[in-house]
């Protein structure tokens, strides 16, 4: 081997080794950065951030140890909105995949990976399969997307996160919990989509894997036996009964509470409160709740403050207001009956009062010390009835109740008026049934920012986009060329 070759070999080996070492080091550093990543979302609505509720569920999955696998399939290409659908689904799955090692997500081209689709038994486009152990939930196009409006105002809403959230809830809980809604006294209807119906809040509860059913204590009882709340009831809802419950029905409620039941009672101004409230030391005084600060532009919606409670913790943290409409005041016994513990959920500020009539200003009621009672006024409270003390039997769990001085806040007409209403509703039921680890903020669907362009606009954009830039650059180039030729 001559000296030149030896030298080249020596330099070459050295250079190759250094190169391999440096490249390997950079790749290693990149690998470390992939594992310990920081993310900043600059989108206007924070649309890339997973909702707190989803993150909470992911945390619970991580704690439980059994991982979740989510497989999403593309929408049919060429179909209306397929571009958005694919993009929204892919983005969400990417975020979920990054959120935790316990969730692995894949977004698959349905046409290109038919074998994967067949292996999972998927036969439709835009399907999402959520699997955990032996459990599996399939989400279809209609579960993931919703169209709203017509013509130019038509928007496509992506409900994917809520739908996957629901699927996770299903996979995490062994059985559906049943919430009964009492009927027979003019209560709000759970399946009604009218302004005074509860369809929206019921849909939210169903997402949480709760089943909401109607219960007529008189009609649904076994023949010859007194009215009773069914054994499978996880919670009972009294959504503004307009008439008094009969004595046997009231007894059935008390008996249910004595078994450690969970009840939500919504009362309204001027309507008779259920007898159960008296047993708990709660009364509903006459009058309407007012506050110096009202939710604009209404004069019967006071701006309310949250009490310290797990139901309202995240709402307080995120400053999400719950809006109640035409609210009745609540008063509790002092001292409380044996075994009863009260915790305020919503109240007015010190500038609130119970309006009983008297002075007005510009037609609006103002505080009049001759008639009105000064605040703060409690309008919603949570109650724990401890076992073995008074109302609840010794061998039963503690009963949980939530009493609210308004029922309208949960209706289809008002539930979207306050940014906190939905979360308040869902969190209340989560607390009532003992799903406290799931307490979090319920999010909203994301929608697409669309442009409504006329034919004229499209023409204008075509010329600006295709002509303006290139022509300007070519003209500058020609000018430079001409000036150089002139020299």
């Amino acid at each position: 081997m001559n000296r030149s070759l030896k030298r080249k070999l020596s330099y070459g080996t050295n250079a190759s080794l250094v190169t391999v070492f440096v490249v390997a080091l950079v790749v290693l550093l990149f690998g470390v950065s992939e594992r310990h990543r920081f993310r900043w979302d600059f989108s206007a609505e924070g649309s890339n951030r997973l909702q707190r509720d989803t993150l909470n569920k992911i945390r619970l999955i991580q704690l439980a140890g059994e991982p979740v696998r989510i497989t999403g399939f593309t929408a049919q290409s060429g179909k209306q909105d397929s571009y958005y659908k694919n993009r929204a689904l892919r983005d969400l799955l990417e975020e979920m995949d990054l959120a935790s090692g316990s969730i692995s997500c894949r977004f698959i081209d349905f046409d290109r990976e038919r074998l994967t689709a067949e292996a999972l038994g998927v036969t439709q486009y835009a399907t999402v399969v959520v699997q955990r152990g032996e459990g599996r939930v399939d989400l279809r196009d209609r579960d993931l997307f919703r169209r709203r409006g017509r013509g130019e105002n038509r928007t496509l809403e992506f409900l994917g996160e809520a739908a996957i959230n629901q699927a996770l809830s299903r996979l995490m809980s062994d059985q559906k919990r049943v919430i009964y809604s009492l009927v027979g006294h003019g209560e709000f209807k759970i399946d009604s989509t009218d302004p005074d119906g509860l369809a929206e809040v019921v849909a939210l509860l169903e997402q949480e894997h709760y089943e909401v059913k109607e219960l007529d204590l008189v009609r649904d009882r076994a023949e010859g036996s007194p009215p009773a709340v069914p054994d499978d009831a996880s919670a009972l809802l009294l959504a503004r009964p307009r008439t008094m419950l009969s004595l046997p029905e009231s007894d059935a409620l008390v008996e249910y509470v004595s078994r450690g039941g969970a009840v939500m009672v919504l009362v309204d101004v001027g309507l008779p409160p259920p007898r159960l409230l008296a047993r708990l030391g709660i009364s509903v005084p006459d009058g309407t709740v007012m506050d110096k600060r009202m939710v604009y532009p209404y004069n019967d919606r006071p701006v309310l403050l949250y009490g310290r409670h797990s139901i309202t913790r995240d709402l307080t943290d995120m400053d999400l207001v719950t809006v109640l409409s035409h609210v009745a005041p609540l008063k509790w016994a002092d001292p409380a009956p044996d075994g009863i513990m009260y915790e305020g959920l919503l109240k007015t500020s010190r500038r609130g009062w119970i309006e009983m009539g008297g002075a007005t200003e510009n037609g609006l009621p103002v505080f009049d010390s001759r008639y009105d009672t000064r605040g703060p006024v409690t309008v919603a409270l949570a109650i724990r009835a401890l076992p073995g003390k008074g109302l609840v039997m010794a061998n039963s769990p503690a009963a949980r109740l939530v009493i609210m001085g308004d029922a309208d806040w949960s209706t289809n007409a008002v539930i979207n008026e306050g940014p906190g209403n939905k979360t308040f509703a869902v969190n209340t039921f989560r607390w009532l049934v003992g799903d406290e680890e799931r307490l979090s903020v319920v999010g909203r669907p994301t929608s697409v920012r669309k442009l409504a362009l006329t034919e004229e606009d499209t023409h204008m954009i075509r010329w600006v986009a295709l002509g303006l830039g290139p022509v300007c650059v070519l003209m500058i180039g020609a000018a430079v060329w001409a000036s150089r030729r002139g020299r």
Binding site: K8, V18, S33, F38, W40, A465
Partner: protein, 237 residues
């Protein structure tokens, strides 16, 4: 730093006294306009996502053509030996040429700022998403220019250098799709981590991820380092 500045000025001047830069800029702007127009009329969305996604693949083919002459021409013309014996450090030479290519890219992107203005006139675009999309595109151009320079350092033929640049970059684009051909989870994750598209997507959604920043930084660094080693090897080869 003075040497980098001198090289940078010289390269930029070469770009702009020849018709090359103007032709590139006008072709690039025409294609951007086309993608913008198609994205807008087909999807009707107040976003640049379609345009920026397509521009990235356009850049994959255009930028190696822009950088192909840097070292290939110097070597063919015989000026490279002069440069190597001049007091300009090799690193400064590479950085100067790289910076000049990047500035040309930035001028290309500057021309596309008319599209956000159009969106703002007709609708209500998400400015945060728009800004991160441009950041992604700029980082992508850093990486592509670095790979183009490396390709240019490999050969004395400009066309071969341009083709080599495309051949180097194309696999990084395609391996993202290759994930659908494997069922091996580890391999899939490695392929996804190496794919350009995976790291560009976050920016187009308004997300800045430290891993994506690290990817483009690593990508650019590796190819600039390889360029350095290739050129340096000429001293002893």
């Amino acid at each position: 730093m003075t040497a980098v500045w001198a090289i940078f000025k010289k390269e930029l001047r070469i770009y702009f006294v020849s018709p090359l830069a103007y032709v590139f800029l006008s072709v690039f702007l025409f294609l951007s306009g086309l993608f913008f127009y198609l994205g807008l009329t087909v999807n009707g969305e107040a976003s640049l996502r379609v345009m920026l996604g397509n521009l990235a693949i356009t850049m994959l083919f255009v930028l190696p053509m822009l950088t192909m002459r840097h070292f290939a021409e110097e070597q063919k013309a015989g000026t490279f030996e002069l440069l190597m014996t001049s007091p300009v450090p090799l690193g400064s030479l590479i950085l100067g040429k790289w910076a000049a290519s990047i500035v040309l890219c930035l001028l290309m992107f500057l021309g596309t700022l008319i599209f956000p203005a159009v969106l703002a006139y007709y609708g209500d675009p998400d400015w945060g998403v728009m800004a991160t999309s441009y950041l992604g595109l700029i980082l992508c151009s850093f990486a592509f220019c670095a790979a183009g320079l490396f390709a240019s350092s490999l050969t004395t033929d400009q066309v071969a250098a341009g083709l080599a640049g495309i051949i180097i970059l194309l696999p990084f684009w395609l391996i993202g799709s290759a994930t659908s051909f494997t069922t091996n989870e580890t391999l899939r994750q490695i392929l996804e981590s190496a794919a350009l598209l995976t790291h560009l997507r976050g920016f187009t959604r308004g997300v800045i991820d430290s891993a994506d920043l690290a990817y483009f930084a690593s990508f650019s660094f590796i190819f600039l380092f390889l360029t350095y080693r290739t050129l340096e090897s000429r001293r002893w080869r």
